[in-house]
């Protein structure tokens, strides 16, 4: 109280100041701050525009030379004279196959962990495990790639792949998909590392999404005698369906564009082989391993690959965001 009483006295004691000047300084600061923040916000749009523009400009020579054939050509011969023959079919195939296999492994396991964490896990363990998984989602992907290269690849090549190859030797179709020789570098190894990498991601998102289910709904279901599985299947999953799909698509977007986790162990071969145990390449792996030493049309073709990847992930991410936003609106309502 004494402070407040003293305040006007002190103000009166100070020399009179120019009120108009202080006000105009205030006004100027206010306007400046508004425009600085506004321009920064627009800068986000400029970045996206810049990305699209620079990719199109960089890819233009390749677009003009190859046109739509680029998408359907398998051959990748950058040193051919006078014009190199370059096609994106190999990397596109590798990107889609590795992402699909990774998703096929990571979705059930990730959802399983999320269900475990929200329904089954003893209370004191829930928070620590959830935090640990979220921390793991932040580990740089090069660590996963390195581990796949030094540890997982050799292990699979020595123990897992020969067994699978001999098991399916006489089964039609499967003997093409799982064809030897076993190798440290293969599409399958890359998919496995990718799935381990996106696992914490899927788990963290599904757990967040499952947490939006009102406890009343679950309690009601348990109250009429539902088992845990029935609650999950009939209450939790239907309620969060949009969000789970959104989270899965977000993870797919990440898997499609992931570079360092796959580059080491995919083998960088542009030839499409029916076998999963054969080396392949993905769009991002091709860019990562060849871009720094490329020039001319070869470089332009790599940028075109990047543009394709951007368009692909843009579509997937847009779908994901729209779905997650729908769930948010539902949770807010």
């Amino acid at each position: 109280m004494t402070d407040m009483a003293l305040e006007p006295a002190r103000a009166a004691a100070e020399p009179a100041f120019d009120r108009a000047r202080a006000l105009s300084a205030f006004k100027l600061g206010d306007r400046t701050f508004y425009w600085v923040t506004r321009v920064s916000a627009l800068f986000v749009l400029i970045i996206l525009g810049g990305i699209i523009l620079s990719l199109i400009i960089g890819a233009w020579p390749a677009i003009r030379t190859y046109g739509f054939d680029f998408l359907f050509t398998q051959r990748w011969a950058p040193s051919l004279q006078p014009t190199p023959i370059l096609g994106a079919l190999g990397p596109i195939y590798g990107t889609i196959v590795t992402s699909l296999i990774a998703m096929a492994i990571a979705i059930p396991v990730g959802l399983g962990i999320a269900i475990f964490l929200t329904e089954l896990c003893p209370m004191p363990l829930r928070q620590p495990i959830a935090v640990a998984i979220e921390l793991l989602a932040g580990i740089p992907s090069i660590i996963y790639g390195m581990w796949g290269f030094f540890v997982l690849g050799p292990f699979l090549a020595d123990h897992f792949e020969p067994a699978i190859v001999s098991a399916f030797e006489n089964v039609p179709i499967l003997n093409t998909i799982f064809q030897g020789p076993a190798s440290n570098l293969s599409l399958f190894n890359a998919s496995l590392v990718l799935s381990i990498m996106i696992l914490p991601f899927i788990t963290a998102i599904s757990r967040d999404v499952f947490a939006t289910v009102p406890p009343v709904l679950k309690e009601a279901a348990y109250g009429v005698g539902c088992t845990t599985w029935e609650v999950v299947r009939n209450v939790v999953l239907p309620y969060t369906r949009v969000g789970v799909i959104g989270g899965v698509m977000l993870a797919l977007g990440r898997a499609l564009g992931e570079t360092m986790a796959v580059t080491f162990i995919i083998g960088n071969s542009f030839k499409i082989s029916g076998s999963l145990f054969a080396p392949g390449t993905t769009i991002s792996a091709a860019i990562a391993s060849e871009f720094a030493e490329s020039d001319g049309l070869h470089q332009s073709a790599l940028i075109l690959l990047g543009l394709l990847l951007f368009v692909l992930t843009f579509c997937v991410l847009t779908a994901a965001r729209l779905m997650l936003r729908r769930l948010e609106r539902k949770a807010g309502a």
């Binding site: 920064s40 916000a41 990305i51 381990i196 696992l199 599985w229 564009g257």
Partner: protein, 281 residues
């Protein structure tokens, strides 16, 4: 009747077992990765890692000093460029444009940038900075990292400012404070812990980024603090060392990977504790 109960109970049991298996499988697998990293990385952890340069192939010893310093420089510059831009952009979204249509568009674009493949950012910076500048450079690497920092900071800033109760702003406005002062003196102070969390998370995110540096900063075998030429950095050095059969390089790669992981994890943990401190109040 009993058979229905039995089958319901059985399917419940099966799913529960599968969930437990998934949890053990997933968590175990991730622990295995950390364990391998720790074992292989600690073997090579030696003071010379921090005092010597990266060795040429076939030479014993050597450290990672130039790579560590390069990474520190580029990460700091990237964060220093990205933070104010992201902070101001997030401020506009939460304070000025909360009800504007433009905000929805910017937020959406920001979300796309947030999860865009980082190698695309590398390609963008290559086209926008490296080509016009005539060569790979440390500054190009820093800008690539800044482009990754911006969406992270925008997102957390907006979220945190949206949490600031409106009556604080109203009270400040009622005292006659201009909008800019309400934001800087009241909103920022109320959301300070959250804003710092966002910057730390962004730092953690870029500290281990490799793909955008591959063809912006490239890397360098030698001591390099010149921002206009190629600059050594930890992730790309690891990338180059892994791809080489030299055993000493392999060991250095493991140790470097351990350093990166420890840095990223501790940044994340600090950010988390800072963010959690607000809740009990």
């Amino acid at each position: 009747m009993n058979s229905i109960y039995a089958s319901r109970r059985r399917s419940d049991k099966i799913i529960k077992v599968l969930c437990y298996a998934a949890a053990i499988f997933g968590v175990g697998w991730l622990c295995l990765i950390l364990y391998t990293l720790l074992v292989n990385g600690l073997v090579g952890l030696h003071p010379r890692i921090f005092t010597q340069m990266t060795p040429p192939p076939g030479v014993q010893d050597g450290g990672l000093l130039n790579a560590i310093v390069g990474s520190l420089i580029m990460t700091s510059i990237g964060v220093a460029i990205g933070t104010p831009l992201g902070l101001f952009a997030g401020t506009w979204l939460a304070e000025y444009g909360r009800y504007s249509k433009l905000t929805g568009v910017i937020r959406f674009v920001n979300d796309i940038l947030l999860s865009a493949p980082s190698i695309i950012i590398g390609l963008f910076v290559y086209g926008a900075i490296v080509v016009p500048m005539g060569g790979f450079s440390g500054i190009a690497g820093s800008i690539a990292l800044a482009v990754i920092v911006i969406p992270v900071v925008v997102r957390t800033t907006e979220d945190m400012l949206n949490l600031v109760p409106n009556h604080l702003r109203e009270a400040a406005s009622a005292l006659g404070m201009p909008r800019a002062y309400v934001i800087t003196k009241v909103s920022y102070s109320a959301a300070r812990a959250g804003l710092i969390t966002g910057v730390l998370l962004a730092t953690a995110r870029v500290a281990g980024e490799t793909a955008p540096l591959l063809f912006t900063a490239l890397s360098n075998q030698f001591w390099s603090v010149n921002l206009t030429s190629t600059m050594a950095n930890l992730p790309v050095t690891i990338n180059n060392f892994v791809n080489n059969p030299d055993p000493n390089w392999k060991q250095l790669a493991w140790t470097g990977a351990l350093l990166i992981t420890v840095t990223v994890l501790s940044l994340n943990i600090i950010a988390r504790t800072l963010g959690a401190e607000r809740k009990p109040k």
